[in-house]
């Protein structure tokens, strides 16, 4: 499997995926630069995606619609923040209505894609996703809450383990 590692940090609200592909860096980049290839990777197997709008440039937007097993639709969009082909791009991924308009009531996820050439035919990819930041969340991080949270979760696990 091309995935080498997945790190999840509940407290920092991040997930980092490490993967390696047997292909040149430009070829891997094309999976995102070409909307027809992107739509084949983006939706889960049971929710195929169709990319509607595709402007992978800083300030650009990508919109997509995924269709579920019962015909239900889930639309989303990217706000493209940074692009340094073929090494890195940064997006905010959010939910949209059926016409592709961002739903600003829903949180967005910041996703940083990084590609590194390991050899002429091998490319490493790192994808760092950070869940939406709420004011409370930011405050929580500033307060150095991580330790309290770890402690609380440890205690909760202990209590749950004792419950018959």
């Amino acid at each position: 499997m091309p995935i080498t590692r997945v790190d999840k940090d509940l407290e920092a609200r991040t997930m980092t995926v490490f993967a390696e592909f047997d292909a040149p860096i430009a070829r891997v980049w094309a999976l995102y630069a070409d909307p027809r290839q992107l739509e084949r990777t983006w939706g889960p197997p049971t929710w195929p995606a169709k990319v509607v709008q595709h402007d992978l440039r800083p300030g650009g937007r990508v919109t997509y619609v995924m269709t579920g097993p019962n015909g239900e639709k889930s639309a989303g969009y990217w706000n493209v923040l940074e692009v340094e082909a073929p090494r890195r791009f940064v997006i905010d991924d959010g939910f949209a209505d059926e016409s592709g308009q961002p739903n600003t009531n829903m949180p967005t996820t910041r996703i940083v894609f990084e590609f590194a050439e390991q050899s002429a035919h091998r490319t490493a990819m790192t994808v760092i996703s950070t869940f939406a930041s709420t004011a409370a969340m930011q405050q929580l991080l500033e307060m150095g809450m991580e330790e309290g949270m770890r402690e609380a979760m440890g205690q909760i696990d202990g209590v749950l383990a004792d419950t018959p």
Partner: protein, 114 residues
């Protein structure tokens, strides 16, 4: 799956918001070991009944505690459901990315006709 992701992200935000406050963390730990009526719980904290009630509501929204009516009283007890939601949301997100990477690999495999 996609719908779960939407619900999961909201659940995650509510759990973190609930746990961001030291008083609420303390209440949660208390309520995990013993159930209390809201008024009995309020007597344990140097704050108004209304303030305690508000904290309990935040914990309840995050599914960290459950409330049941018992006569005139509301009895509150802790549950791990909210925290499990947060963990499940991350697990669902990991699966989404495992699928994406497998699909990327599949497209790349189609490149080499030889």
């Amino acid at each position: 799956m996609v719908i779960d992701r939407k619900a999961g992200t909201q659940a995650l935000d509510e759990v973190f918001h609930a746990l961001a406050d030291a008083t609420r963390r303390h209440m949660l730990l208390t309520l995990l070991t013993q159930e209390y009526s809201v008024s009995a719980l309020a007597r344990q904290y140097p704050m108004s009944f209304a303030a305690v009630h508000k904290h309990v509501s935040v914990l309840e929204r995050a599914r960290l505690v459950t409330k049941k009516r018992c006569g005139r009283e509301s009895i509150v007890r802790g549950t791990g459901a909210g925290l499990r939601d947060a963990q499940l949301a991350l697990d669902a997100f990991e699966q989404l990315w495992r699928d994406r990477v497998a699909q990327m690999d599949q497209i790349l495999a189609e490149d080499s006709p030889d």
